[in-house]
């Protein structure tokens, strides 16, 4: 199974602090993507990082990828209450280009 696993499962921080979530996966990938899901809502794409990339930035988001460790991290800087959501990583394998495997997610709560 290629499913990613995030940790921690739940994270609670104060507004203004940074939040770091980690994702591990099992097989070689073409890319890894991070999504946000607000409670009971759809998935919002945040950032895509390809297997030949090590770091990407998008606004307050910073994603790293370590293919040797089969892991990725998502850093949200200067968190806001509106960042409260579940965050998932999803991987696209080398030979399963049209399948996407989601992790279990990290539930982030940002306290105002």
């Amino acid at each position: 199974s290629q499913q990613g696993e995030e940790d921690p499962q739940a994270l609670s921080i104060q507004e203004g602090e940074n939040a770091t979530m980690n994702c591990s996966y099992k097989t070689s990938i073409n890319n890894l993507q991070w999504y946000r899901q607000n409670s009971g809502r759809g998935l919002v794409h945040l950032i895509l990082i390809r297997s030949n990339e090590r770091e990407k930035h998008s606004g307050r988001l910073r994603v790293t990828l370590d293919t040797s460790k089969k892991s990725s991290s998502l850093l949200i800087t200067a968190s806001r209450a509106a960042d409260t959501a579940s965050y998932f990583c999803a991987t696209a394998g080398l030979n399963t280009g049209n399948q996407f495997y989601f992790g279990t997610g990290t539930s982030l709560t940002v306290i105002p």
């Binding site: 998935l43 280009g97 989601f102």
Partner: protein, 114 residues
């Protein structure tokens, strides 16, 4: 900004009934997907669809499931005889060029099987 839409937002059905969940992908996208998320669990891949045929499917996507693109805009998921365990959120997604690029998700249809 273009977005994926899904209807209905909530579907309640009796066990054994057929349901059809509808999606309108982003217009210039070529790849379409269905996922499901049982309450409190991870999002699970069901099927991908390209060039009017299934390109990949998971073990979950058994003979009770089928997908169709009946016209140039809609993409449907049919469950022939629903079971209690089919209760979940069903998400449609589309991408320009396979899972090697970002997938855009719809808001989901909550299916409740009684």
């Amino acid at each position: 900004e273009p977005e994926v839409t899904q209807t209905p937002s909530h579907q309640v059905t009796q066990m054994g009934q057929e349901v059809i969940l509808r999606c309108v992908p982003i217009s210039n996208h070529l790849y379409f997907y269905w996922y499901r998320q049982i309450l409190g669990q991870k999002v699970e891949f069901l099927v991908s669809f390209y060039n009017n045929e299934i390109s990949e499917k998971s073990e979950i996507f058994d003979d009770q499931f089928s997908v169709e693109r009946p016209d140039g805009s809609n993409f449907t998921l049919k469950i022939r005889s629903t079971k209690l365990e089919d209760s979940a959120m069903y998400f449609c997604a589309s991408s320009e060029d396979s899972a090697y690029n970002e997938q855009f998700f719809g808001p989901g249809t909550r299916l409740t099987v009684l």
